[in-house]
Structures are given as C-alpha cells and as structure tokens.
C-alpha cells in the first residue's frame, strides 16, 4: 500500500519534542536564574546559561524576608479545606439530585446550573463585604469562604451517580438499608473516581487563585503562595534571581503532587471534561 500523505513518524516526534521544550523551557529558565547572581543574570556578553556558582543565598534571602512556612501552611489549609468541603457537600447534593425524588428538586438543581453560568467575579464584592462584616479578614476561614460549596462539583458528581445502575439501590433496599446507608455504603464508593477528579480540580484552582486571597487577606502573614508572589514582585522588582527563587518555592508543592499523582491529574481532567 502506498501512502504518500502520511507524515513520517520522526517528523511528528520532532514537532512534539519542540513543543515539549517550549512547555518546560520557562521552568528550566526559572530554576537556572534562581541560582545566578544578579550580575550573571543580566550579563549579555557573554550570555550566561548556567550559573558559574550555584548561589543558594538567593533562596536563603527569600526565605529570610518572607515567612514561607506560614505561606505554605495557609495555602495548604485553604486547599485542603476547600477540597474536603467541596467533596463532602457536593457528593451529598449530587446523590440527591441524581437519585431521589423530592419537591423542588428541579428548581434547586436550576440554581446549581445558574451558578455555573455566571462569572465568579460577580460574587466577589458581596463575599468580601460578608467576610469583612464577620471580622474574618486575614484568616484561613476567609480563604476557604467562597469554596465552602461547589456548584461545579455538584453537577460533576451528579453525572457520575446517574451513570450507576438502578438495581444497586433496589438490592440495598431489600437488604434493609435506608437512604443514608445506601448512599454512604453502596453508592459513594462507586463514584470514587469522580470524587478524586473533583478533588484535583478544586485543589488546582484554589492553589492558582490570585484575586480572592489578594483582596481578603492583605496581611502578609495571612497570604497564600500566589498572593504573596504578587507582593514580592512589587518589593524586589529588579532582583530577578530572587524573584525566580520565590517562584520556584511557590510552584514546588503542586509540582511534587503532580509528579506523584500525574495519572490521577490527567485522568481527572479527562473524565470530568467528558462528563460535563
């Protein structure tokens, strides 16, 4: 068989490798710059790719000037709490919407759909005013606040519950399970992949969020990694090696999680996309 229009395999690989280099090059450059001296980082003639001396002082300086342990803790607490809240509350609501009949079901599910269509910025001023009037600014609670419940999570898990066979519940009922027992013991374990996907999504977007922590936790001890970086940029605007060291410190936690759970990350995104 003659196939003239098929791209040679090495050509495909060439394109993919070039693309892959473009994808990771900024991170490599971030890492290399973070170890250079300011002189080396701004030297054009000769241009310096690799630092002649790996300058760990950039990191100790950034760590000295910013309370990174605190930033890690704030970010971790926010992400963990948002993940737990969104999974627990969404799974409960999703099961009810998928499998139970009760008055107002369609109306309430309409609210869920409506929330998903509206850009999140529209909630921000009132949410800020609420946190402010509770006197809760600069707290972990403030960071969690907008993520207490998740319309997206409810919708996503409902799709997973709807895909389960009806017979499961009938069998559970015959065995004498009430609705709560059926939900917790039988149905919940079967949507584990959905909950993992939701957890990853929630963690990723909470981790990346910039505007909310910037607005609500202005105190630098209450900041997250993202919002602290925005501040650090203003403070050291010329010292790029230190800025890069701070960036490396900020992306490392998620990068480690990604390296360990890359399969879950990618499958989580893929399945949720297919379910929506």
């Amino acid at each position: 068989m003659v196939r003239t229009n098929r791209m040679p395999r090495y050509f495909v690989h060439l394109l993919l490798v070039v693309g892959a280099i473009l994808m990771i090059m900024p991170f490599v450059w971030m890492l290399l710059t973070s170890f250079k001296s300011v002189t080396e980082s701004t030297s054009m003639n000769p241009f310096v790719f690799f630092p002649s001396v790996w300058k760990w002082e950039n990191y100790s300086e950034v760590l000295r000037q910013n309370n990174f342990p605190r930033l890690y803790w704030n970010t971790f607490a926010m992400v963990a709490l948002r993940v737990v809240c969104s999974i627990v509350f969404s799974a409960m609501a999703a099961y009810a919407f998928a499998r139970l009949k009760f008055p107002g079901r369609n109306f309430f599910f309409g609210l869920v759909l409506f929330q998903m269509m509206v850009p999140t910025q529209i909630f921000i001023i009132p949410q800020y005013l609420m946190v402010d009037s509770l006197g809760m600014r600069n707290t972990i609670f403030a960071l969690l606040f907008p993520g207490l419940v998740s319309a997206f999570g409810t919708f996503l898990l409902r799709q997973f519950f709807m895909g389960l066979p009806k017979e499961l519940e009938e069998a559970a009922k015959l065995d004498g399970c009430n609705i709560g027992q059926t939900f917790v013991r039988i149905m919940l374990p079967l949507v584990r992949s959905g909950m993992v996907a939701l957890g990853i999504f929630t963690a990723l977007f909470a981790f990346k969020d910039l505007m909310w922590p910037m607005i609500v936790n202005t105190n630098s001890n209450a900041a997250t990694l993202s919002s602290a970086l925005a501040k650090i940029q203003g403070a050291y605007s010329v010292d790029y090696p230190e800025l890069m060291a701070a960036s490396v410190l900020a992306i490392v936690p998620m990068l480690i999680l990604y390296v360990i759970f890359q399969k879950q990350f990618i499958e989580g995104v893929a399945t949720s996309g297919g379910k929506l």
């Binding site: 993919l16 998740s150 992306i251």
Partner: protein
C-alpha cells in the same frame, strides 16, 4: 388494610423527601448565601456610588452605567478582552487539537508528552507570569538574546503597547494547551477505530479522514472546549495583573474587564462602579454563550 399501605407508602415518600432536602441543604444554603444573594447585591450596589471608606454609599440610579458607557477605559477593556479571547481561543485549540491527534496514534512516549504538555497548567499564574516577564525582558531576556543571535533587534515585549497584549496572549496559550489537549484526547479516544479502518479500505487520505471522521465525531468535545475556553479567556486577570502595572504605557492596551473591575472595586474602592463593570461582563458572557448555543446546532454532531 388499604389505609395501612397508603400510610406506609406515604411514610416512605416522606422519608425520601426529607433525605433529599437534608442532603442538598448545605449546598443550597451555601449557594444562596455565597452566590444568589451576592448577584442581587452586586446589581443593587451598581446603583450606588461608594464614597471613600466610612463615607457610606450614595444612591445614584443608573449613573454608573451612564458613566460606564462614556468611559473610554471601559471600552478599551472590552476591546482588549475580546481581542485577547480572539488571540487565545482559536490558536490554543488548534495547537491542542494537532497535539491530541498526534498523541492519539500509535506513538512512542505518549504519556511522557502528555505529562509535559500539562505542566504549565499546574503552575500558579503569579509564578508563571514572573518568569515570562523575565524571558520577555527587553535588555536581559532570553528571548531577545536568542533574537539577537539571528540578527534581530531587541523587542520591548511588555512595554510596547502594540505588542503587550500579544505577549500576554502567548502566555495564555502556553498555559492552556495541555489542558485542552487532555480533554480533546479523551474525546478522540471515544471515536471507534472501525471508522478509520473502513475509510482506509476506501482509500481516504489521512487529511480527508481528519475532516470527514475526526472533526465531526469530535465536535461535542470541541464544543465544550470552545465554550469553556471563551468563558475563561473573557475573565483573564492574573497574567495581566502580574505583567502590566497601572502606570505602564501599555496599560490602556492590555487592561481587561476583570482587571478594570478589580482596580475600581479594590484599588480605588469604588465598589458601585466596579459592580456596574462586572454586570457588563456578565451581559457580554451571556450574549456570547447564547450565540454559541445557537450556533451549536449548525456544527455539533451528537451521535
């Protein structure tokens, strides 16, 4: 006897109802407090002019909207936001689609490529923008250094008002390719292999197969990716915020609706005007989504 059964059934129904309400209660209460009331409140606030802290709000009716329609800054931001979406959405989807098609074949190292392309998605935009700013640096940046090696002049990627939105769009494209690629790849894997085998026998070229089989069968996934990408792009903020300061000469040519909303609401603390801007954003997004839902019937095939 009959009465007893009726009572049992109704007791069962009642049980199901209360379980339903109980299970949805946290989510619904949360949505009402965190989302539904705030929408009404934002609309309400947009009718007020917020004074400096402590001076309270003054009812101004539709003045914020009148001001908005004659505010050049607002029109700039609408234009910038739409242009940003126009730069990012088609390009990123085209590239993601090409990569996804490549990876869908029998190719070595598929999962390594997939893992690498997804990495930009997991990094915080604040950190990513900082390194891009450094790469773009006019005097010391890697990009201008590489350009100088091929004899090109230094380019002011960030400060030049004509270029800065493009530079920002490049970051936007770079960070979203992996995400779209994963979604499209999942869609591609759903297409039955027999379709390709059958058309192989008919002697169709790969190119033709792409347009006759792949695209139509992928259209539901593609539609989802297009809709979410546009909504995401319309809300661009982080990268521009980290890249362009209010005092930059490029500010006017890069400020997005959300950035303008942020500045008005929290920098200049005029929450009334900020609310009016975010209502405008909502209106634009709803119009675009409505148009897409209409257009969907023309090009999306559901099997």
């Amino acid at each position: 006897m009959n009465k007893q059964i009726a009572r049992r059934i109704s007791k069962q129904t009642w049980g199901e109802w209360s379980w339903g309400w109980f299970l949805i209660a946290p989510t619904i209460i949360g949505l009402v407090v965190l989302n539904i009331i705030p929408i009404i409140q934002t609309a309400y606030l947009s009718l007020f002019k917020s004074g400096d802290f402590g001076r309270g709000n003054i009812y101004v009716g539709l003045d914020n909207y009148r001001k908005m329609f004659s505010d050049v800054q607002v029109w700039h931001s609408v234009g910038n936001t739409l242009l940003y979406a126009l730069l990012v959405v088609p390009t990123s989807i085209a590239i993601s689609l090409i990569v996804a098609v490549f990876l869908n074949g029998k190719i070595r190292g598929k999962s390594i490529y997939r893992t690498i392309y997804f990495i930009p998605m997991i990094a915080a935009p604040a950190a990513v923008t900082m390194v891009w700013r450094w790469l773009y640096n006019e005097h010391f940046g890697l990009i201008n250094y590489l350009l100088s090696r091929i004899g090109a002049d230094a380019v002011d990627w960030v400060g030049n008002p004509k270029l800065s939105l493009i530079s920002i769009a490049i970051i936007g494209i770079w960070s979203v390719i992996g995400y779209n690629m994963v979604l499209l790849l999942a869609g591609l894997q759903e297409i039955p292999k027999d379709f390709y085998e059958a058309s192989d026998i008919d002697g169709a070229s790969r190119f033709r197969q792409f347009f006759v089989i792949t695209l139509p069968l992928l259209s539901p996934t593609l539609f989802f990716v297009v809709v979410t990408s546009i909504i995401q792009a319309m809300q661009v903020f982080d990268v521009i915020y980290m890249m362009i300061d209010v005092t930059s000469p490029a500010y006017e040519h890069t400020v997005s609706l959300v950035y303008l909303f942020y500045n008005n609401s929290f920098k200049y603390s005029n929450k009334g005007y900020g609310s009016a801007i975010v209502i405008l954003l909502l209106a634009i997004i709803l119009i675009i989504t409505f148009i897409q839902m209409r257009a969907q019937k023309k090009w999306v095939n559901y099997m």
